[in-house]
């Protein structure tokens, strides 16, 4: 039993969230009461902060906000619930539960997220408890899906090397398990677990402590050549090293992140940097120590500077590496060689080396719903009803129907066809490489549309692609409704970050493999300008590109933007063409 964790003193007055955590008695706060209070379908701000640790956010339908205010009604409050799925793996039974809950309590859709978890939107306060209990009964949970803790651990769904995947996934699961909060609050509040009284001396959270982390913390495991999880966008990235097809260990990369704040150059997207190598049996220990460094030194005063990437950049990479070695009591080995080729998904059927089949289904922006002529949600439900393998949520918001036996394959193909579900082959390769965050109407931070708009924008871009004969050229395009960058836009060869309704900052020049950030190309542009800007770029790319040259590399070679070597340079001297 550990003693209470005491943090080293820090400059600056602690942020309000720190107070809330401190007073919350390990994430309890007054949530239990707030959830039953009748006068509002929302909950108070303090409890909402804590709610995030329980995997849910209070939101409101922003489409209705103003109109309801006039009607003397409070905002249309509803909860978003995020269900963790380490490595994005869910059984057919679990899929069916998600589907059922989304329809029973939610808005009838499921969102497959950029971190391989499930989200449901539109759940009313009165249904939250039932909802969480049913999720729990399906052996899934929402604890720590959000909040200042370690988030859903990502891992490449990798259908190719089945054996490697099994190994890496198992590690992701163990990490996720080990790094979960230990508080009983979750069981008390949602699962009617009986109240435990926390003794004053004993530490309930042996790793986190009662203040948890200064900010969210994200871990992802990549298996080259695929960088689909965008390993360099993680606070802690682990790159699997394979030697003669055996997993020998992981390169450790630290300090990545996408988020920034418009107009604050002290905030920036950053890529994680490799500091060494360790064997698979060590990674939990490594993760724990890295997290405790961030726990002790992360900025607890200003939340927008609190992510690990800023801790790394202020303390310096060397300091972090040596501090880590100290805490481990042994040194990381020298990093090993690896090579990433792409960060997108590979669609359609492929056969794993264990003879099982895997089908990667294109799901535009990860939104699972039924629409006229495209009953996606129903189709997946019917597949889940007969599927004997598993489902894997991809880091690009797509879905892999995994471990299909040759016998079952026919049936599933049949169901796919019956519901017009495809690998998206009829779409442009650009659309199949597109990704967008949620944004309006549910996201409280959205400044511009994203999920609802990107598909329409792509329709128009596809016209340009056809003009230049680029329909089958993979170009990674991403859109986020605000600079938080939930669709990892800083790693898009073409990217849009919302500034105001209908207005975006446009970025280009990230690498196809997700190891170079993009650069601002134009500020505050609307659809017309966007298309006007893209038309010549695409035309020129079609004509002048070198053999196998990707769009992101091309715009740099042809001088449209400068390459960003380090997040610290993200905001500097914008390329001349932008004058």
């Amino acid at each position: 039993m550990t003693k209470k964790i005491v943090l080293p003193p820090q400059a600056g007055k602690p942020s309000d969230v720190e107070r809330i955590k401190l007073e919350s008695n390990y994430l309890r706060g007054s949530l239990a009461q707030s959830l039953t209070e009748q006068i509002s379908s929302g909950i108070n701000d303090d409890d909402n902060r804590l709610m995030k640790f329980h995997g849910s956010y209070l939101q409101d339908d922003r489409d209705l906000r103003n109109e309801r205010q006039r009607q003397k009604l409070e905002p249309a409050y509803q909860f978003m619930v995020r269900v963790r799925a380490p490595g994005g793996i869910a059984t057919p039974a679990q899929w069916l539960v998600m589907d059922d809950l989304a329809n029973k309590y939610g808005n009838g859709t499921l969102k497959l997220t950029t971190r391989q978890s499930f989200q449901m939107h539109g759940i009313l306060k009165w249904n939250m408890k039932k909802n969480v209990q049913e999720i729990n009964a399906a052996l899934m949970d929402t604890l720590a899906a959000c909040g200042d803790v370690n988030r859903n651990v990502m891992c490449n769904p990798n259908p190719y090397q089945s054996d490697i995947h099994a190994e890496v996934y198992e590690l992701a699961r163990e990490l996720s398990e080990y790094l979960s909060p230990r508080t009983q609050a979750y069981h008390e509040i949602w699962l009617d677990g009986e109240k435990v009284v926390n003794s004053q001396e004993v530490e309930v959270e042996p790793m986190y402590g009662e203040l948890y982390l200064p900010r969210k913390f994200k871990i992802g495991l990549a298996v080259p050549p695929s960088n689909d999880i965008d390993v360099f966008s993680q606070d802690l990235g682990m790159i699997a090293i394979l030697e003669d097809d055996q997993l020998v260990g992981f390169n450790i990369a630290v300090g990545g992140g996408m988020g920034m704040t418009h107009g604050d150059a002290a905030t920036y997207p950053q890529l994680a940097r490799v500091i060494g190598f360790c064997t698979p049996d060590k990674i939990i220990e490594v993760a724990e120590k890295v997290i405790t460094i961030q726990r002790d030194y992360g900025n607890r005063s200003v939340r927008k500077y609190a992510r690990f990437k800023y801790t790394v950049d202020t303390k310096g990479l060397e300091w972090i590496a040596s501090e880590l070695n100290n805490r481990l009591g042994w040194d990381l080995e020298a990093a090993r060689a690896y090579r990433f080729e792409h960060n997108g998904d590979r669609y359609g059927w492929i056969k794993g080396n264990d003879g099982k089949w895997h089908y990667t289904l294109f799901i535009e922006n990860g939104r699972v719903r039924d629409v006229d002529g495209y009953p996606l949600m129903t189709g997946l439900r019917e597949i889940a009803n007969i599927h004997t393998g598993d489902f894997r949520l991809s880091p690009n918001q797509n879905l892999v129907i995994s471990n299909v036996t040759s016998q079952k394959k026919k049936e599933i193909v049949e169901l796919l066809e019956r519901h017009n579900m495809t690998d998206g082959a009829h779409h442009s390769a650009l659309r199949r490489s597109s990704m967008s965050c949620v944004a309006f109407p549910t996201c409280g931070l959205a400044m511009a549309e994203a999920e609802r708009y990107l598909p329409l924008l792509v329709d128009k871009i596809e016209v340009l692609l056809d003009e230049s004969g680029l329909r089958d050229k993979e170009i990674v395009i991403r859109m986020s409704g605000c600079p938080n960058g939930c669709s990892r836009p800083a790693l898009g060869e073409i990217a849009f970050i919302g500034k105001a309704p209908g207005k975006y900052n446009m970025y280009v020049g990230a690498s196809f493999a997700g190891d170079r950030l993009n650069k601002i190309y134009r500020e505050n542009v609307g659809e017309e300008e966007i298309l006007a800007l893209l038309k010549p770029l695409l035309a020129q790319y079609a004509k002048e590109r070198l053999e196998g040259e990707h769009f992101g590399d091309f715009v740099i070679r042809s001088g449209h933007v400068n390459a960003v070597q380090n997040g610290l340079d993200f905001h500097d001297e914008v390329a001349s063409t932008n004058a």
Binding site: Q38, I39, S40, S41, L64, E67, R68, Q69, R70, Q71, K72, L73, E74, A76, L124, W126
Partner: protein
């Protein structure tokens, strides 16, 4: 002395008749006739009620007369009360010693001591007495009622002929008093919604009878009887409504709701109309122009033809009259009987014959004049004749939803839009439909204040109040809380609200939230019936909190119920009885008495419709 042409204004024939008649009359009859004739002069139009008065004149007996008169009223929405007040003024002006009391303040044991009783009572529910009349009603119609040989009385019954039990309560009182041996001072008059004229006539005959009993020959002074003292006309009132500008008209139900509830703000600037929380606002609606035009077309009338819109003979163009003067949406038995005379179609006559009541009722439900006109053609009726038999369009009452202290010069309403399909036509409530579809900010509505003494905040601001108001029943409680805030009342407040869906139908939600935050609303419990599989209503929430609720009642809390009469009010009442039994250990009888007692003490007040 005998009459001669010389000493009288009569011609020979008249003199002969009079000389023949007068000696034959008893003294009483002569005196009565004197009074009657003088009263006749002031009556603008001779009416059924006064002529029947002549027939029943004989019934009046000789006895020693006092100037003591007791006026007893039973009123729910204030009409009877207003009339009682008016009559009091008139009689006092004639030096009568008047005792005016509401039935619920009336000491029943004093009944035997009374000589002259004037009873004004309305009917509510399905032929039920007004809440405030209940204790007296039960006493009088019950076994404990004493013999009343010495009592002389007259009843003015208020009602609405579109209800099956028209003026039922008034009739019951009348019959019961006779049964108990009391004598009719003058015959009962039953008033329909446009009750002013019949009420005036009743006043007149009553006054005559009283005068006569006093043996007073004083000519009846018109002013006092009609009570229309000069100033009254200047003031805005039900008979002289104020044209209030609409300031705001918005839908309180969020997108996706099955309901539409309008929040309406009107300007009272310049009206100097005063009101208290608990009062209602009368609104004179306009009929739906489409319905009016359909009617005109159906009868191939000309909308511009002038028609008389009152007995005084004011003329207005037909279309205008149909829009704003007469009622064309509600069918009543008397109306159909009159219409039966105007159509060549025998079917209508067959429908209104005695014994066919059930068929008639079924026919009338959900139908309007247009249906009748279509179903029973052909009609060869000049518009003027047709219009003459229609009722005046009655004002609709709306519980005032604002406090005048909080919003001087304004009055707010909460109006549920009434939409329904009947006999394969989409139908709209006349007034709520107008407010939802046509009334725009800037337009004007004819309104008046209907005071309601039976729905009042406790005089003591520290007294706790419990407010039960699902749906539009919430309206007066918004006024209550605004008022309590203005006067800085300290007393606890507890609101029960319910509707269909939390997200779309929580009327005035943000205001309750503010009241709660500021401590003006102590507690709120809500029930939304369509959010869960098993329907929950306010009474279920009351049961969940029964212990606390009982404690509040024991602490002397005043309990208010407003809204739907048919189901809600009754369910809430039963629930209260249950709570009193469960928490107070009372038996059924005791629980009922407890509530009756509360009603008596004005600690249980209802504004239901």
């Amino acid at each position: 002395m005998t009459l001669q042409v010389m000493n009288s204004p009569f011609n020979e024939q008249q003199v002969a008749l009079l000389n023949q008649l007068l000696p034959a009359l008893t003294e009483t009859q002569q005196i009565w006739l004197g009074g009657y004739l003088s009263a006749r002069q002031i009556e603008k139009t001779p009416s059924e009620s006064s002529s029947t008065a002549v027939l029943e004149a004989q019934e009046i007996v000789e006895k020693v007369i006092t100037k003591e008169v007791t006026i007893l009223f039973g009123s729910q929405t204030g009409n009877a009360q207003a009339l009682a007040g008016k009559l009091t003024k008139n009689l006092q002006a004639k030096n009568f010693n008047v005792t005016l009391t509401s039935m619920n303040d009336f000491k029943v044991n004093t009944l035997k001591k009374i000589d002259n009783l004037l009873l004004i009572v309305s009917t509510h529910g399905e032929g039920d007495p007004p809440d405030t009349a209940l204790p007296f009603y039960e006493f009088l119609l019950g076994k404990r009622a004493p013999r009343l040989e010495n009592l002389q009385y007259s009843v003015l019954a208020l009602g609405d002929s579109s209800y099956e039990y028209f003026c039922h309560t008034g009739k019951e009182f009348d019959e019961r008093l006779l049964e108990l041996g009391a004598k009719q001072l003058s015959p009962r008059v039953d008033c329909d919604l446009d009750f002013d004229e019949p009420a005036e006539e009743w006043f007149a005959t009553v006054l005559v009878a009283l005068n006569h009993l006093q043996g007073s020959h004083s000519a009846v002074d018109q002013q006092a009887v009609t009570g229309e003292d000069a100033s009254a006309e200047a003031e805005y009132s039900r008979t002289n409504p104020f044209k209030a500008e609409i300031l705001e008209n918005l839908n309180l139900n969020g997108r996706g709701s099955n309901k539409e509830t309008r929040h309406i703000e009107l300007s009272l600037e310049g009206s100097n109309l005063q009101f208290e929380p608990g009062d209602s606002l009368g609104v004179y609606p306009q009929n739906d122009p489409e319905l009016v035009d359909a009617l005109i077309a159906e009868l191939s009338w000309n909308g511009d033809d002038p028609v008389a819109v009152n007995k005084q003979g004011t003329f207005r163009p037909l279309r205008e009259a149909l829009l704003s003067t007469v009622e064309i949406t509600v069918l009543t038995k008397p109306l159909l009987q009159k219409l039966a005379e105007l159509t060549a179609n025998p079917a209508l006559k067959e429908l209104v014959v005695a014994g066919k009541e059930r068929e008639l009722k079924d026919y009338m439900y959900g139908r309007d004049l247009l249906d009748v006109v279509r179903d029973f053609a052909p009609w060869q009726v000049p518009a003027c004749e047709f219009i003459a038999i229609l009722r005046k369009i009655p004002a609709r009452l709306y519980s005032i939803a604002s406090s005048q202290k909080a919003n001087p010069d304004e009055v707010h309403l909460t109006v549920g839009t009434l939409r329904y399909e009947a006999h394969d036509r989409q139908r709209l409530g006349v007034c709520s439909g107008e407010l939802a579809l046509r009334a725009q900010p800037g337009d004007h509505l004819s309104v008046y204040v209907q005071s309601n003494q039976n729905f009042r905040l406790p005089a003591n601001p520290n007294t706790p109040i419990i407010m039960i108001g699902p749906g539009t029943g919430i309206a007066p409680f918004r006024a209550f809380l605004e008022e309590r805030e203005e006067i800085g009342a300290e007393g606890k407040t507890w609101l029960f609200f319910g509707d269909q869906h939390y997200t779309t139908d929580f009327l005035y939600q943000t205001e309750w939230q503010r009241f709660a935050k500021e401590g003006i609303l102590t507690q709120i419990d809500v029930a939304f019936s369509r959010d869960t599989a098993d329907k929950v209503y306010v009474q279920h929430r009351m049961l969940e909190k029964s212990q606390e609720l009982f404690e509040w009642l024991e602490e002397g809390a005043v309990l208010y119920v407003c809204g739907d009469e048919k189901h809600m009010a009754a369910d809430v009442h039963d629930t209260l009885e249950t709570i009193l039994q469960d928490e107070g250990g009372l038996n059924a009888k005791e629980a009922a008495d407890y509530l009756a007692e509360m009603q008596q003490q004005k600690r249980y007040q209802r504004d239901v419709y």
